[in-house]
Amino acid sequence: SHAQNKGTLLMATTTSTDNTGLLEYLAPQFKKDTGIELLWVAVGTGAALALGENCDVSVLLVHAPDAEKEYMEKGYGAERVQIMYNDYVILGPKDDPAGIKGKSVTEALQAIQQQKARFASRGDNSGTHKAELDLWKQAGIQTPDRESWYLSTGQGMLNTINIAAEQNAYTLADRGTFIKYEDNFKGNPPLVILVEGDKELRNQYSVIPVNPERCPNVKYDLAKEFAQWMASDKTQKLIADFKLLNKQLFYPNAGE
Amino acid sequence: MSEPLYRVEGLRYSYGKHFDLDVPELVIEHGESLGIVGPNGSGKSTLLNLLAFIDAPDAGTIYFEGVPSGPESLEARRSVTMLLQVSYLLKRTVFENVAYGLRLRGEMQDASERVREALSWVGLSPDKFARRMWHELSGGEAQRVALASRLVLRPKVLVLDEPTASVDRQSSYLIKDAIDRCRRMFNTSLIIVSHDYLWLNTVTDKLVRMEEGRLVEYVAGNVIHGPWEETGERLFAKRLSDGQVIVSARGTSLQSSAILNPSTITVALEPPKNESALNILKGRILNMSDEVSTENVLVEVVVAQIHLNVRVTKSSAVRLQLVPGKEVWVVFKATSLQWI
């Protein structure tokens, strides 16, 4: 049975959720369950947070835990609901010139730096970029900048993967986008996963309804309903079932 | 109305340092027909542009029917229409060009009739030309279309800047007829510039001459330009290409021009003896033309490279058996030249 029409809810999100098709997959179900039509604007993480800060959207779906925390502290968000994660992987050319296959993240990054093997960085302050910066720090390497082997692309994930592929470079990517990328190449892409599975590589997504006290115009009720719906068991199952090339892209972890 | 059509006071216009127009006074009456002659660059077109309210003067006022008027007075501007020296047709058909002014005035009811009429006035068959595009015309045809688009407006004042340049002789008389018809039917006043004195004479009642930005009395075309040389006897002299010399009383500068009134020149068949006049020059008659509605004939005499117009009565022309091609002597005094 269809719920009655309750209007639209505007969300700002990062490009990864949009590009993988997850939202396209969830939105009709959300409408069916709640009568709310979900509309979203896919932008960079920083821009998504800024849109929330400016009261232009009612809810956010983002993945940059540190920035999110700061955002909450400033009182921009009403609450932060953890929804799901996927993980980051280090991709590289099939012939793996720096020989990082199977190494730990720290060792892999060190090898890349020592060999001056090319590495493509998002360089756009996105969740993925911030995670990458953390990983360099953990590996005890000062963040490379003007190194000729370090390419800061300032672009979305998929474009950065493409650049890495063209340049025979390594890169850090979220698994969801990589699977999508693999799909584009009918399962035979020039870049392959070389490092995966480390604990440090987790990529957490959260929903943040915008604080109605700062922004009286936002549809806080609908935003809350969306957060609850995303965290509900039914939706968590839906997320787990979302697959590309028969591979799971996101791992629900609401309430963890 | 007691106010004249135009009353001009202290009119000035200049193009940077190149040229100054200076018309301290000018009155044109209703229904008058004024011809303006003068050499190239003397300011005729500049004056017409001011009188047709196309440009605004730098100083001075033009009273049109008693009202100070200028380019911003649409009322006045619609009473006066001007044919530019190098006419410009809109990128439309001939019909649309001629009808354009009517369209502006919202008088399109009988436009088709009026356009056809105006075209035939200037000697263009409406059936042949009305549908042509603006560029499908010869030079003279284009000029005539431009004229038709002014005549069709039945204006109070028709200002024409060389209407017959590039028009063939036969058609130029056709145009004269068209202009006369306009005068008769709509009591249109005329201000016409032309280098064709003969034609202008037949169209206008009154002629004035423009020289270096100033209006001077009409003196049928004898301007003797500098440079001059100084001679011992307090005189200026101009040496002609065949060695003859024109002498004049001293002027202000060796570059000045002087005017020689055709009535102050006499024609003789022999070089006169015991004459007080200092200038006795040999020349040949090139042309003789009727000064319409007077008893005079204008005789154009070529002296070396200079063309002098001499006014003689018809009877003396007959008495002296003047005929084009004949060798004659022209005689005038050194003091007859007036410096401008």
Partner: protein
């Protein structure tokens, strides 16, 4: 390489199946660009006329500013307009953000300089005799402007076509102000960008081909119209 070829095929499929998503983006694109070009012509052609026709002190400087604005990036226009119509901006109450009229209005700022500058150039290129001719025939101010524009009609038309091309091909403003919201504010160009971002290059090409086809049809219609009216 292959995706170009696939893109062409896909374009055909999208057209013949009347794909609803594509159809929606086409309609949005047309709504946006018709609005923005109409506004820009209404505002820009008269301004361009004034700039090209009159001489006034500071004209050169003004012209230089307009010419400089030809180089304004779409994102910058997006940012500026966003600053005003964002909820917390002074015009937040207009609710223009993420709407079709919002994109159109922002695009006006992008293409107005093109319309103004090229119209001014068209007017400046007119024969020097036109002004005295029209005055001598008794044209008032407005009639003078209209006829001058009519005389320069081919160049003014190209000004409009160039501006329209800029509007229909821009993506920064449509992204930023429209938000690329599916079924609502997704235009052809934001859809192309999205598909490209997804790596669906052939789909990007397909949509690009459809966009150009639309423009080609519009241009043809214009030519027919022109032939009928002159």
């Amino acid at each position: 390489m292959d995706y170009i070829w696939q893109g062409l095929q896909q374009a055909a499929v999208l057209i013949f199946t009347l794909d609803p998503e594509t159809y929606s983006a086409v309609i949005t694109t047309l709504k946006v660009t018709f609005t923005s070009i109409t506004l820009s012509v209404i505002i820009g052609v008269p301004l361009g006329f004034l700039l090209g026709y009159f001489n006034f002190p500071g004209k050169k400087q003004l012209r230089m500013v307009v010419d400089t604005l030809l180089a304004i990036p779409t994102v910058v226009v997006g940012l500026l307009v966003y600053a005003f119509i964002s909820r917390r901006g002074p015009l937040g109450w207009t609710n223009l953000l993420y709407t079709v009229p919002g994109i159109a209005i922002a695009q006006v700022f992008l293409i107005l300089p093109i319309v103004i500058s090229l119209t001014a150039t068209a007017i400046e290129g007119l024969d020097r005799r036109l002004r005295p001719t029209l005055r001598s025939l008794g044209a008032g101010r407005v009639q003078l402007a209209l006829t001058s524009l009519h005389e320069a009609r081919f160049a003014v038309l190209i000004a409009v076509i160039t501006a329209y091309g800029r509007a229909i091909s821009e993506v920064g403003i449509a992204m930023m102000i429209g938000g690329n919201i599916k079924w609502y504010t997704r235009t052809m160009t934001t859809a192309i960008t999205l598909e490209t971002g997804k790596g669906q290059f052939s789909m990007g090409i397909a949509l690009g081909v459809i966009l150009l086809l639309i423009v080609f049809l519009l241009n043809s219609a214009l030519v027919l119209l022109r032939r009928r009216t002159t």
